[in-house]
Amino acid sequence: MQAIIIGCGGIGSHLAGPLARYLESLGPGHKLTLVDGDNFEDRNKTRQVFDRPGNKAQSVAAKLAESHPGLTVDAVPEFIKPDNAEFILDEGVYVMLCVDNHPTRKLVSEAAASYQDIAVISGGNELEDGMVQIYVRKGGVDATPPLTHDHPEIADPKGKAPYEMSCEELAKAGTPQIIFANLTAAVLMANAFWRLSTDPEGFLTKTIGKGEFALETAYTEVAFNIGLNKVRPRRTAVTTGGDAA
């Protein structure tokens, strides 16, 4: 099994440790790849998990490789962008999308649509609330809706992706966040990963609608609010050429 964490900051740096520990516990042959073009700075210490400066992907990967020798850990010290997405994504991988902007979510969702079997689990938060989305392709069809479905803010994103920003713009891009919102997103993403990777048939059950093949899902997104301590999953059925409703 291969998992790819794209974005190793507030959410990704919290997710990386438990995900590495879990993958290593499954035995040999599993791989975790970390992707991020940004660098850790002192100001990140208030929310992000790291103990050495430098590129975020390389820093987290170096630490995990030391503490989890039974797991293959790779780092890609670049932002994902249109001209490198195909070299980062692969068939059968679990993409843990922990970025801080909708243009990159759109990019990854659209890139994933060209694969036969792939899972994209995306997490994002505002100050107190946030959402985890699950986009799964199975056998060349969408088993759950893409990240852009029902989300015009992702389908038609405002602002720029990090790879489109100048250094000055990147430095100013940060907005206030609470570490527990990052942590909650990471945990909900991990839960979705575990369920999807251990019980794919239960998570994605086949149904027949008007003679066409269709897939239904247990849930496709999870909204949360740490101030209320509320978490609410939401299901959306996907039809493929037929009507499963």
């Binding site: 997490g123 994002g124 959402m131 015009p152 909204a223």
Partner: protein, 143 residues
């Protein structure tokens, strides 16, 4: 499938059990896109229509009734916020105006009634049993 159920037995099944009963045994399509409350109502209606819904021996408790509710109210959500209330007869715009501040709803949110896109206007009237969902934007930050 000929087994008969009381409402208490259905309550004891819980949301997952009701979903499996409806999907695997009653073969009800479309459950995956329904809320737990809608699934419960749909399963009860199917069992009742097939004569498979037994009356409970004892008078129903409030808890048992709540677990398999009759859809008299309108369910409104802006995940993770959710409420059910006597909103039937009110317009969608009234509900939006009432809840947008306490739920910190974004401007220009999308809205769905029973899964269908709806315009937030005073001409869109709600009826008992409707499921109203205001579209929650995905969180953007996290890095």
């Amino acid at each position: 499938m000929n087994r008969k159920y009381t409402r208490q037995e259905l309550k004891d099944l819980g949301p997952t059990g009701l979903y499996k009963l409806g999907k695997d045994e009653l073969k009800i399509p479309g459950l995956a896109s329904m809320s737990d409350e809608e699934i419960a109502n749909t399963v009860v209606a199917h069992l009742d229509a097939k004569g498979l819904l037994l009356q409970d021996a004892a008078p129903q408790t409030a808890a048992a009734t709540a677990a398999v509710p009759i859809p008299a109210e309108v369910n409104v959500s802006y995940p993770p916020y959710e409420t059910s209330g006597n909103y039937a007869g009110k317009s969608l715009a009234e509900i939006y105006d009432q809840l947008r501040e306490p739920w910190s709803m974004a401007n220009n949110v999308r809205c769905f009634i029973n899964g269908q896109t709806a315009n937030i206007s005073h001409a869109t009237m709600l009826k008992a049993g409707d499921r109203v969902e205001f579209g929650k934007p995905a969180g953007e930050k996290g890095d």
